[in-house]
């Protein structure tokens, strides 16, 4: 087991930042902690690193207990690598010295070889004599990753590692990082607030809200089988409206009835439909909607629809699909992207 946090709670000033938190990262697994800002994901990461003192619960890394709420190993003794949001390269040291910073126990020759090895893994072997300020953001990120991996840690912790990069560079660096981490076989816990990034990187995602994990599992589970409304909305825009289970056991929507999935008749429900689940065509006349506006967004088109009693819906259609304002279109509902939850 790479990392195990059991019953961890943490508060600042009486504010509960992490609440009875349990999480396991399997050996060689890459787990993403995903959630809105202030949900406690960074605190959990810093607790794992020992950068915050554990108040309650236990943490073990690589099968070794590192903190149990009474005593705790300091970060320098936990055998981890940490990649910081701002990269935190030491400005007074060269790239090579930065990477060698944690390698005190190695002999000089071995140290030199190791530095060269990790630097070449990230494609920075020629910049060993440069100073951090001479590198671009993407290069700094790669050096910071090399530094975190240099001492062959049991666990790598990444704190929003791509948020300091501009969007064009981000996807490229993300790709390289994923493959390097996978190749080195290290267990990894990464924090991000970007669901797309989490799905790109993770073997498993733990979605957090208010200090607790709402859902934990492979990305496809969270996207296609959300356990509650929060999970479905967090992964993207949804059309939502209230309805109830009718006497025929179906849930009425402007796009036809839905299965009630075991809910009793009369139950108030919330229906969530992803825009891409509203598939428009001109030949289907069963459920008719009126186009209010349509815009091309690049890879897809967004169509604003008027449906039901004053309802306003968004449909996302592939490529260039731009019906005219006022046009009437038929709708087909993709049920794998449609979710029903009992209303609160």
């Amino acid at each position: 087991m790479g990392l195990k946090l059991s019953s961890v709670s943490h508060h600042f000033d009486g504010h509960l930042a992490v609440d009875d938190f349990n999480l396991s990262v399997g050996h060689g697994e890459l787990v993403c902690l995903l959630g809105p800002s202030g949900c406690g994901k960074t605190t959990s990461l810093r607790l794992a690193a020992g950068l915050e003192d554990l108040q309650q619960g236990t943490i073990s890394i690589g099968g070794r207990m590192v903190a149990d709420g009474v005593s705790s190993l300091p970060p320098e003794s936990r055998d981890i690598g940490f990649l910081f949001q701002d990269f935190a390269l030491f400005p007074h040291l060269t790239i090579a010295d930065n990477v060698a910073f944690g390698l005190d126990k190695m002999a000089d020759a071995e140290k030199k070889a190791r530095v060269l090895e990790v630097l070449s893994q990230v494609g920075m072997e020629t910049r060993g004599d440069s100073f951090p300020h001479m590198l671009s953001g993407g290069q700094q990120q790669r050096v910071a990753l090399a530094r975190a991996l240099a001492n062959r840690p049991n666990l790598v912790l990444l704190d929003e590692p791509f948020s300091g990069l501009d969007s064009a560079l981000r996807s490229q660096v993300r790709d390289q990082t994923l493959h390097l981490l996978k190749k080195s076989g290290v267990s990894t816990l990464m924090v991000t607030h970007d669901p797309e990034e989490a799905m790109f990187m993770a073997d498993k995602i733990a979605l957090m809200r208010e200090g607790r994990i709402v859902q934990f599992g492979p990305p496809a589970d969270l996207y296609c089988r959300p356990v509650e409304e929060f999970v479905a909305t967090f992964f993207g825009e949804v059309n939502d409206f209230e309805s109830e289970v009718g006497s025929d056991g179906h849930i009425a929507t402007p796009f036809g009835g839905l299965e009630s999935a075991g809910l009793t008749i009369g139950t108030k429900v919330k229906v969530l439909i992803r825009p891409e689940a509203l598939i428009l065509s001109s030949d289907d006349s069963n459920n008719e909607v009126e186009v209010m506006a349509s815009r091309l967004l690049g890879r897809s088109s967004l169509i604003h629809l008027k449906g039901g009693e004053g309802g306003h819906f968004h449909s996302r259609m592939p490529s260039n699909f731009l019906p005219k304002e006022g046009e009437k279109l038929g709708v087909k509902l993709d049920l794998t992207q449609t979710f029903v939850f009992p209303a609160k």
Binding site: H11, F12, D13, G14, T42, T43, R46, A49, G50, L51, D53, Q55, P74, P75, E76, S77, R78, D79, I80, G81, F82, F84, Q85, D86, A88, L89, F90, P91, H92, F101, G102, D104, R147, A148, N151, L157
Partner: protein, 563 residues
């Protein structure tokens, strides 16, 4: 994750606090902070010690004089520094006139001159026997002082003028920074709303700069209360001279400490006022847009007037006294072309160097300790330890001498009862005591600089080093020290110069027959040997120019929107 700043003491906070006290860093931090805070605590403690007759004697006779003189002095110096400092700051930042670029930094120069030095210089120049009055007498055939009127230099008014001339840079410095930091956009908004440039200054710039000006004023007033050399030389009885006299003249340490406590309570109020203003200063920028200030062109007579207004403070506060000192120094080569003078310089250097090294090390230790463990207790302890800057040197001397003498007596009595040996005074009147006094007085100077520098090292640097397997102490050496090297040097230089200038604490605490440049200046001047005092005074002024240069460099680096 900005949790440390807002953490207050709640119930859970106390539990954490208990946990965190029992680590090495926090324990040493608390111990050192306590040690440095002892003098201040001792003086405060004396408020509760009954002294009976001495105190009532003081109240009946001299206390009202001390209070009145100190208040008049503060009122005078306060108005003087406020007018000179704010006025010149506005002229050089907002207007363009001949010489404004040079005056921009030259206006800081009087900071290099200690108040007592300028006082001796002008006394030598303007006294009855001085060149000015002699020339006047010759010119108009006057024979005695009864034939004409000439303002007395050695008076309350004279002291106010002297101190205003060298203390206005505190107000100038902060007011100028505030004017420059203000976004031009705000002033331009005011102009588009129909206000003239002067109205914009009056109703926008000045109110925005008020916290900074108040902070500068508080610094100037603290220095005013700290001053001993000037008021002693001019024979004006203030709190500071009163403490000195009660201690050494009347031999009443407890009463002296109580006078000190009164003064400290007053200063605490001043400091709180300053903190309050500074707290507001944090919020006074409403826009982050900086634009180069478009200076208001002053031509002809108005330009000349602006030049004169800015040049006079520099001339009277630095150029003239420095020139006079230089002249006297050249006239009296026997005073400084000998081994004794260089011995004095060496003494000053050793004291200043050891105090500044110590102050920087302690400041580094304390600020790093708080960074590691930012508990309520640690932060309070460090704040208490850096109170000394607000406390006059005489008060600190009293606060150190009392416990040290007590400790010496205890050790002596104990040694005599056990071994029959008298150890005498081990701590009192030693170099170590003097250096400790400087540490107490100037720790906040180094602490503020070091803390600001550490604050610029992002916390993820610490975290990066720690997660790479390096413990806290080694992280300080390998990461923080190299990064903040420059600031440590600055902190050291600032303390060094302050120690060179320091007079009252050195006077009271120095070992017998141990003399520094500042003490020598004071002694010779007190003997009316003003010319002879000039070489030592000039040396102090020359060293004092170094921080002026440092401050100018720091301001030039840190400021957006300035050419």
């Amino acid at each position: 994750m900005n949790t440390t700043d807002t953490r207050t003491v709640s119930f859970t906070g106390l539990i954490r606090l208990k946990l965190q006290v029992v680590n090495g860093w926090s324990l040493s931090l608390l111990f050192i902070a306590f040690l440095v805070a002892i003098p201040v605590l001792v003086v405060f403690g004396f408020v509760f010690v009954p002294t009976g007759e001495v105190w009532s004697h003081l109240v009946e006779t001299v206390l009202s004089t001390y209070v009145l003189n100190s208040l008049w002095l503060m009122l005078g110096v306060g108005s003087g520094t406020l007018i000179i400092g704010t006025g010149t700051a506005w002229l050089v930042t907002m207007c363009r006139f001949p010489g404004h670029r040079i005056l921009n930094w030259a206006l800081l120069l009087p900071l290099a001159v200690p108040a007592y030095v300028i006082a001796y210089t002008y006394t030598g120049l303007l006294d009855y026997a001085g060149p000015v009055q002699s020339e006047l007498r010759e010119l108009f055939d006057w024979t005695t002082s009864r034939d004409y009127w000439f303002p007395a230099v050695r008076s309350l008014g004279g002291a106010i003028a002297m101190m205003s001339l060298v203390l206005y840079p505190y107000v100038y410095m902060l007011a100028r920074a505030a004017f420059l930091e203000q976004s031009v956009c705000v002033l331009e908004a005011s102009r588009t709303l129909g206000k003239t440039p002067f109205q914009s200054f009056r109703f926008v710039a000045l109110p925005l700069a008020r916290p900074a000006i108040a902070a500068g004023l508080a610094l100037a007033l603290m220095e005013t209360l700290n001053d001993f050399g000037t008021v002693h030389f001019f024979a004006i009885d203030t709190f500071t001279t009163g403490i000195y006299r009660t201690w050494l003249g009347l031999g009443e340490p407890a009463a002296a400490a109580q006078l000190g406590a009164c003064l400290m309570i007053f200063i605490t109020a001043l400091v709180m006022l300053e903190r309050h203003s500074r707290g507001r200063a944090k919020f006074h920028h409403t826009t982050s847009k900086y634009r180069r200030i478009k200076k208001f062109e002053l031509r002809g007579l108005r330009g000349g007037f602006a030049l004169l207004a800015c040049f006079l403070p520099v001339f009277l506060g630095f150029l003239l006294p420095a020139a006079i000192l230089l002249g006297w120094t050249i006239e009296t080569p026997e005073e400084w072309m000998n081994a004794a003078f260089w011995g004095l310089a060496w003494n000053s250097f050793v004291l200043a160097a050891s105090a500044s090294i110590l102050a920087v090390c302690v400041a580094l230790f304390l600020s790093y300790g708080v960074r590691l463990h930012p508990t309520w207790l640690n932060r309070t302890a460090v704040r208490a330890a850096s109170l000394g800057y607000a406390v006059p040197g005489t008060v600190i001397a009293v606060g150190i001498m009392l416990p040290f003498a007590w400790l010496d007596n205890q050790i002596d009595a104990w040694m005599r009862s056990i071994f029959g040996i008298s150890t005498g005074l081990l701590l009192t009147g030693t170099i170590a005591a003097v250096v400790f006094g400087y540490l107490v007085r100037f720790l906040s100077v180094s602490f503020n600089t070091v803390e600001a520098a550490l604050g610029k090292v992002t916390p993820s640097m610490d975290a990066a080093a720690r997660t790479l397997g390096v413990p806290p102490g080694k992280t300080l050496l390998k990461v923080h020290l190299p990064i903040i090297r420059g600031s440590l040097l600055t902190a050291g230089v600032l303390v060094f110069v302050d120690v060179m200038k320091e007079l009252p604490a050195t006077m009271i605490m120095r070992p017998f027959n141990f003399t520094t440049l500042a003490v020598r200046t004071f002694e010779l001047a007190t003997d009316e040997q003003l010319a002879e005092a000039s070489s030592a005074a000039l040396a102090i002024v020359l060293v004092g120019i170094v921080p002026v240069i440092l401050i100018n460099l720091a301001i030039a680096r840190s400021r957006p929107g300035e050419e």
